[in-house]
Amino acid sequence: MNFAFNEEQRSLGETVGQLLSDFPALTAPDLSREQDDDAWNALAELGLFSLLVPEENDGVGLSLVDVALSVEALGAGLASPLVASTLIATELVKRFGTDAQKDALFGPLATGELKVAIAYTERGKGTDPEKLACAISGGCLSGTKIAVAGADAADRLLVVARNNDQASLAFVETGAAGVTVRQQDDLDPSAALCEVAFDGVEIAADALLGGGASDAPVNALLDLAATVYSGLTIGIANRMLETTVEYAKTREQFGKAIGSFQSIKHRCADMAVLVEAGRATSYFAFWNCAEDSAERAQTASAAKAYCADIARDACNEAIQIHGGMGFTWEMALHRYLRRAKVLESAFGNPAWHYRRVHAEAVAGREADATACRDAA
């Protein structure tokens, strides 16, 4: 048992963090996407998109745990959510792709040529994949997704849709006939949430991930996305902690640094405690996801819900502790607040994930009790 990252994993995370800091527009006050492509290309050049691609497909063959700190850096650096969704898609292809899908997709994925957005949420629907309305019938996909981050800049969409009464994942080209993408006007325009309408879009059999034989890919998507998003949000929380502590050391009132006032100091301490608890929860989910352990679903949901809550609190505290400065456009704290909110609601909000944790724990306890009875 070892709950620490190794030297390579840490240095990879630091490199990603440094690289993103070369693109100030990502975190600047104005909500612009002007450096998104440059940042993407730099990440691609670094090889980020080839890390999860298996060696036999000419990738680096790393696991989710290897990239956990890099994901955290993507969160802290407010990289486009497309980076995360493309990594999630890559991991899904690795796990479920048919040989043909791997051959077709890993090449352009690894080089960063292929940007993948994930289309999950629907208006009037919750997170339960079985209850989504988008469906493939007679080989054609119809329905409307909302809040698809980065769909307007993506080449492919990974769409959660019912097929033969089973939740499945379909790859759809954004330019395919019948697909309409509209950028929505939302709280965080830099996340580029889009509405995507599918009007009888033809879905070839080989477009279904893994051939559409089971709902395992959708369940895995939920857990992978929850885990990766926990990394993004805890990255934001830690960035808010660092920024706030720095400000509390330098800003003076009443002739002293405000960080010497206990009401400020103690809140910084509480943030530090939560960041540590969130990280432990998130990293544990990364490991369980990477290992596909029996606790994958529970730990992923735990991390998604908890880290989102922590990021939300950290953003709120950061703004309060910066005083009037915190409320200014120029200070740019609003960028983190906005992004954290968008990430929080994607792939299931905290309430949904906490309920899932409970359901999984109850199921686990029952299984354990049965195992004990059988052993006796």
Binding site: M1, N2, A4, Q9, G259, A272, Y354, V357, H358
Partner: protein, 396 residues
């Protein structure tokens, strides 16, 4: 990062699991519970400590030469997991095993280690912690209990307060003032005091739960052999900091998590069985959400402690990050204990005396007991000062 275990570690786990299955009373945690009455309960816990010791399951990561089994920190973590799984009873000799033992291991003479450690491991001797005084709580360095050197003895006079388990203890480690003229941190020594010495008296204090776990302890011309000084004269503050690092550290947190997990599992079971309208209490989505969050937090306690273990294994020193662990578990446990009462509603308020009581009234009792978590082992405010100043570098 790797949560897989080696074959040796798995064997360790299976050994312990099997041992626990044999050692626990039949029906333990289901039909058989700790005695209700306080003294009987503590003696039950002491007997459990002794039973654990007889199987070689106490002080497991202490060196073999002092009665331990030289277990690794990983085995220590496995130990906590298995104890939680078996819903094992709590221990009485926590202060001996978690505080006195490690402190003596760090700073004690060879003679002190040989004299004290085996009896801590066997729980033949139970220990108390004589740190706090009426005027030295958070400001611990203000202790006034005097120890004057007379020949080969110290003569101790003064009063300690909030001394947990003093009434069951054979020994107490105490912070005493040995140089009243030195600056306050520099005139303190760390002394081991036999609680049966003439001049030691204790008076139980009643707690908000109605129990009397803690006491006032009086020292009236108590003679303590000079060989019971730990470390150098007037170097007690430094030694006390090590004691506190253990008191707030990951081992302590893991041991406590066992209890909190047991309570939470019990809450989940009760909420899943207690009728409510046409179903059960935990059919309510709000209740599911609250329980889910509690599960996450109680798990995070363990994970935070394990992260600390990994830092130690990678060569880092024990430091102020112990305050993060203490601050986290104490508040998370308090929230869970409070949620339990909220979720169960009126039935959750019934005490063990009432025939309708839920889980023998244990949720109400735990709720009351949980109020101490954020006060002892250094209050939350003190932990926040430490984290703010020593970890984050904020100015004083």
């Amino acid at each position: 990062m790797d949560f897989n275990y080696t074959p040796e570690e798995n064997a360790f786990r299976m050994d312990l699991r099997k041992w626990l299955a044999d050692a626990l009373p039949k029906g333990w945690g289901e039909t058989v519970f700790e005695p209700e009455e306080e003294e009987a309960r503590y003696l039950f816990r002491r007997d459990w400590d002794r039973k654990l010791a007889s199987g070689g399951w106490t002080g497991i990561n202490w060196p073999v030469e002092y009665g331990g089994r030289g277990a690794t920190l990983v085995e220590r973590a496995i130990f906590a997991e298995e104890m939680a799984r078996a819903r094992a009873p709590e221990s009485l000799n926590i202060i001996g095993q978690n505080l006195a033992g490690p402190t003596i291991l760090h700073f004690g003479t060879e003679a002190q280690k040989k004299r004290f450690l085996p009896k801590i491991i066997s729980s033949e001797e139970i220990w108390a912690q004589g740190f706090s005084e009426p005027n030295a709580g958070s400001d611990l360095a203000s202790v006034r209990t005097r120890a004057e050197r007379k020949g080969d003895k110290f003569i101790v006079n003064g009063q300690k307060i909030w001394t947990s388990f003093a009434q069951y203890s054979q020994w107490c480690f105490a912070l005493v003032r040995t140089d009243p003229d030195a600056p306050k941190h520099k005139g303190i020594s760390f002394l081991l005091i036999d609680m049966n010495s003439p001049g030691v008296s204790i008076r139980p204090l009643r707690q908000i739960s109605g129990e009397s776990e803690f006491n006032e302890t009086f020292f009236d011309d108590v003679e303590v052999p000079a060989e019971n000084l730990v470390g150098d004269l007037n170097d007690g503050w430094r030694i006390a900091m090590t004691t506190l690092a253990y008191e707030r550290g990951p081992e302590d947190c893991l041991a406590r998590q066992i209890r909190f997990k047991r309570e939470l599992d019990s809450l989940i079971d009760v909420a899943g069985a207690m009728p409510m309208d046409d179903g059960v209490v935990s059919d309510d989505p709000g209740v599911q959400e609250d329980l889910g969050r509690a599960i996450v937090e109680i798990d995070a306690m363990r994970l935070v402690a394990l992260r600390s273990f990994s830092r130690f294994l990678n060569g880092e020193e024990r430091g102020p990050d112990a305050s993060i662990i203490k601050l986290y578990w104490s508040h998370a446990a308090q929230r869970m204990n409070e949620k339990a009462i909220d979720i169960l509603g009126a039935p959750g308020l019934l005490t063990g005396e009432d025939p309708e009581a839920v889980a023998r009234g244990s949720f109400g009792m735990s709720y009351l007991q949980s109020k101490a978590f954020t006060i002892y082992s250094g209050s939350s405010e003190i932990q926040r000062n430490i984290i703010g100043e020593r970890l984050l570098g904020l100015p004083r």
